[in-house]
Symmetry: none
Subunit: 213 residues, 4 copies
């Protein structure tokens, strides 16, 4: 979780604040571009153009094309983390859990493109970078694990660690599904409906987990 984990994308530029600006430009240009053509089909020239400067300049801020994808994933997770940071479970009520799910699903809905790109292109990353991304995903699962653990369920429904893990994954996965199966859901569901039904299904699931054989 420490910032130190961040895989540093090397630059030849010294000015730290300029680096930040340029990278923001790269990322926001890349999102639109990758959304349209995917990482592999997008050329570095196009990335540079989308970012608003020349390839020469692009390569002052990245070392390889893959860095762009990495930068993008990094940026998205930062956003996610930042926004999820506000979700906490303090009282342990079910309402709080519902709220967390809602926040998370809305977050995904707001960033559908970014998420879609991430889940599609992540596999193109180097093993090293991929692990970093996996870790981040694990953080997200973990966040929900904590919230679920903290939530007071009916007495006879106390979940084991493993079951909590499954439940947390469930939320994360169903959230992602909204992003990369939108072509299937959008015809029948608004995000609100989706949240509603998914939450109901999920809650009745964990509320009665141990009732069926």
């Amino acid at each position: 979780m420490a910032e130190k984990e961040k895989i540093v994308v090397q630059t030849s530029v010294k000015d730290e604040s300029l680096i930040e600006i340029r990278r923001r430009q790269i990322v926001s240009g890349a999102v639109n571009l990758f959304k349209e053509k995917g990482f592999h089909r997008a050329t570095t020239r196009e990335i540079a153009k989308a970012a608003g400067f020349s390839i020469g300049t692009l390569y002052e801020y990245i070392r390889t094309k893959e860095d762009v994808l990495y930068l993008l994933c990094d940026y998205i997770y930062d956003q996610v983390k930042q926004q999820l940071a506000e979700i906490t479970s303090e009282t342990g009520t079910v309402e709080e859990l519902k709220e967390a799910i809602k926040q998370y699903f809305h977050l995904i809905d707001r960033m559908v493109d970014e998420f879609t790109i991430m889940y599609q292109e992540t596999k193109s990353l180097s093993k090293e970078a991929m692990h970093y991304v996996f870790d981040k995903e694990h953080e997200m699962v973990h966040l929900f694990e904590k919230i679920i653990k903290n939530t007071s369920l009916p007495k006879n429904q106390v979940l084991t660690e493993k079951e909590i893990f499954l439940a947390a994954n469930h939320i994360v996965v169903q959230g992602q599904a909204w992003a990369f199966r939108k072509w299937a859901f959008r015809k029948r569901y608004t995000i609100e409906d989706y949240i509603n039904d998914q939450t109901k299904l999920f809650l009745s699931g964990i509320f009665h987990f141990h009732e069926n054989s």
Copy 2:
């Protein structure tokens, strides 16, 4: 759903049965290759080699590199469909539904690599081919919709069409999750455990769907 819908990958070879053989070779070679490097990083020469013949020959059986991916997706779905065809809901018991889920999850487990590739690379297909794949996915969702619809749930838990759709998607998505989140699940779950817990969560979910607000 007619077989005629199949998007024909053109060939310059006339012998139909030979085409079948060669394509099977292409597909099984490609699975291993794509698993390792992904579709984009694999070269046509490598695909040919993995299939056991020269590029020249490869191109006697496909028109473009994308055809390989298409052939692969096609093959996988055919397998899936064929194996799921045996799953039917005749008595409408919950046991039957459980069995269907089990079959489906086992199927995915058996073809983890194939599924992973499919969900990762599908987006690289042409619009036309993508729609064909989407249709196939829809068939799968539909299969579960029918089974769920046919299953007798507690009286007060009758599901609407929309809810059935969600539930069917749920199964399909959680099945896929086993494939492309295996890195997360494998540490704690065997496929049997996974099936078990997922089924429990799902069933208690739909059995009590309308109990929570």
Copy 3:
């Protein structure tokens, strides 16, 4: 002029009469094909198909793709030669010369496609084959040299060998021009008009050759 000069296109087939038949098929298929796509753009598969048999069979009657072009040129010249053989200058009248020109121009008009192909693709031939073709062209020039030489011109207009050579070339070239500049001429000229005016221009030219400085 002897048949011996013919560069033999080797075959692995023994039956002489079959060879003739197959080659005729090759040539007539190739004319249509080359007319449309040119020699380089036409594939051997297409040539075989146009000829009415398989590539395998095609290669029983030729050694390389170039042979097809060679066969084609050979055939065309044979046709030309055969048809021009009937043109002779026996009385030495101007009428006879006119008739020869007319015959030649009409011949070209009848075989525009063949001529066009020949003049366009001849340069793709090997040096050896090209020389054979050049020799054939020379024969044609020579034919007209003989006719012109034999024609009685006004006394003060007797032409030197060199001038006769030029005049003969003139006819050959202007004939070819009808074939490969048809896009320019066709708008304003019918073949009859063309023959008429070209003949007039030519005759008045050689009839008054030595009048201007």
Copy 4:
């Protein structure tokens, strides 16, 4: 006829003057190469090498291989046009016509290779590019039409538009003949001789055009 008609060969390089330089390099390299092997047999790598840079660079200045041929034709016609621009018929004397022919024939002699290539490979161009080249040819014919029209011929020999067209084509064609039939002419003619005799033949032709039936 406006310069604007020029079919633009697209580039990814911005510096206009550099484009000019590189294209000149491409063209002059291509002339030698095509002279030797023809357009189809020459590879892009060879073209690049002949131009003095890498394929990568070559493709910064052209879009496809065909562009090289187009660039070449374009260049040649520019040269021709530029050099013929100096030829004008102001007084309408026969001497002026002779001079024009002389200039044109000399021009061809100077650029035999270029002309030969152009007339041989032009047919490989796309329809669009071919039309552009045809238009240029038409300009040349038209130039001579104007000159001939302006030339004062004997009173009873006034030529019709159609005859002038034929005569102009005559010059253009006989000029080309010097280029692509050089193997035939070179043995007996120097360019001066050729010009001399061709001019004589042509002039006596048009001076007496209407004397023969």
